[in-house]
């Protein structure tokens, strides 16, 4: 164990997958819009279809910027993984994004 202790230092992670059941946490960053000081964090079902994830979670958040056009996002990319093809309407799990992973887009 890396932590110096007088006993066996072994505790569960506070954000492990099983605490979210069939859901996961996914972070999303609008790369070229620094109005958004940080990427957003969402909780969503792993089986959620991409179109729903975008319409129900990403779009309302991105609309914090009144100039946001929901048709504008492109170059969807899982960091450390594959590009996302919205046309194929993958589920979140299908995109390969891991629990607490990050997805990028630009406009």
């Amino acid at each position: 164990m890396t932590v110096k202790a007088l006993y066996d230092y072994d505790y569960p992670s506070r954000d492990r997958q099983e605490l979210f059941g069939d859901d996961m946490l996914v972070n999303v960053q609008w790369v070229n819009n620094l109005m958004f000081a940080a990427p957003a964090c969402f909780r969503a079902p792993r089986a959620m279809p991409w179109a729903d994830f975008k319409a129900q979670l990403i779009d309302p958040w991105a609309a914090s910027d009144p100039d946001y056009d929901p048709a504008a996002p492109k170059d969807w990319q899982v960091v450390g993984g594959q590009a996302i093809d919205p046309g194929a309407n993958p589920t979140l799990a299908d995109t390969g994004v891991v629990h607490k992973g990050l997805i990028l887009f630009r406009t």
Binding site: M1, T2, V3, K4, A5, L6, Y9, D10, Y11, P12, S13, R14, D15, R16, Q17, L19, F20, L25, N27, Q29, V31, N32, L34, M35, F36, A37, A38, P39, A40, C41, F42, R43, P60, W61, A63, S64, D65, P66, V79, G80, V98, H99, K100, G101, L102
Partner: protein
Amino acid sequence: MAKLSMRERYSLLTRDLDWTPTYVDPKVVYPYTRYEGIKIHDWDAWEDPFRLTVDSYCKYQAEKDKKLYAVIESFAQGQGHLHLTDARYVNALKIFLQGVTPLEYAAHRHFEYLARHLDGPGPRFAALCQSIDELRHTQTEIHTISQYNKYYSGLHDWSKMFDRVWYLSVPKSFFEDAITAGPFEFLTSISFSFEYLLTNLLFVPFMSGASFNGDLATMTFGFSAQSDESRHMTLGLGALKFLLEQDEGNVPIIQDWLDKWFWRGYRLLSLVAAMMDYMLPKRFMSWKDAFELYFEEQMLGGLFPDLEYYGIRPPRHLEQAIAEKDYMSHQAYWLLYNFSHAASFNTTIPTPDELDWLSASYPDTFDRHYRPLWDRAKQLADSGHRFFNLGLPMLCQTCQIPMTFTEPGNLDRIAVRGSDFRGEHFNFCSDGCKWIFDREPEKYVQAWLPVHQIYQGNCGGATIPEVLAWYGIADGADNGEYLTSPDKASWDQWKASAQSGGA
């Protein structure tokens, strides 16, 4: 009988009151000072230059308290808050009371623990004095700032907020990281790193800010506390040198701790950088200038050459901190502006004069990267769409700040680092925070990250109003935009009636 010298009195009242137990193994009496790997051969080598004894301690501290409370009383009686440059300044105090005062209390508790558990009588007594000092600071801060609670929002439930609110998990996790470490890491992290190395970057901004903005009460409390701080600084530097001198094997352990705690402390100070550049109607110094003077000049130029003698080098990731002095405050305040609908303080767009001061203070970065954001914010605010980031942010696992800091060398790109541990992914804002996680992952996987806790349903509900209620933040009163806040409305009214001669 001749009066005893300081040296003699100190010896009689500390060392000579100590004893080595014959009835039990000393290791049983002091069980916590071996497990960190630090080796101490001679506790008597720890000298306290202040040579305080209990009689002089009580005498001087009582005098400080009497002077302070006389000022607080006069401040209250004279409606001293009306002398502030502007009510907007009170938001700096909200950050202080919510984020710093609870750390004073935690320090009080932990120095009390050290006052019991350090083997040597000299350091035990110094720790006891510090424990009482920190309790005094907690009390004086509460009494000072509670004066403002009578007139301004956001200050009413700082203790509960500290345990719940997202931006306060930054100072909370910082200090809890320290108090859950062993006594020697604590001395390195708090006594040395926080109270010697970085102390001026915390205190001078708040106290000079108070002075420049007509806040007599905070300035007075600040000076009262700072006179204790000189003893704390001495304890910190004294502890560090003692540990380094006791055994060569201690040096790499201490170096690692220095590297960790410089970075954790530096990231915590981003809240102070934002405060000093953006929340003071009358600014006295930029974060950049403060960092150059108090850290680069005094610490790198003065202290670290001293420590070189022991084999200590300046901390890891220092180059990034130096590079960031040109833009860290802008990123941190822009973050607070984004999310102040969920905070117990107000934010607002800097005035044109303030924007010009920022341009002049940060000629290489402000106009190119941050003025455009403020121009856009103004455009939106003027058209009735004051910008708020209506989502929950991605957080760094270690420092717990939302991921807002940029890639070294590229101000247009938010830095993201990752690690996997036991099959689970973790995110970090920087190489520094990732390094800290990677050396003790079993500790940091337990972090109580506010955003993730909201999503686990542990924070009062799934909607922002429910979470604000759980935080104890009154929506429309404590949070959001300054210009439309109750604080501003009150201020305008008081100032108007002062001009018309009304009560």
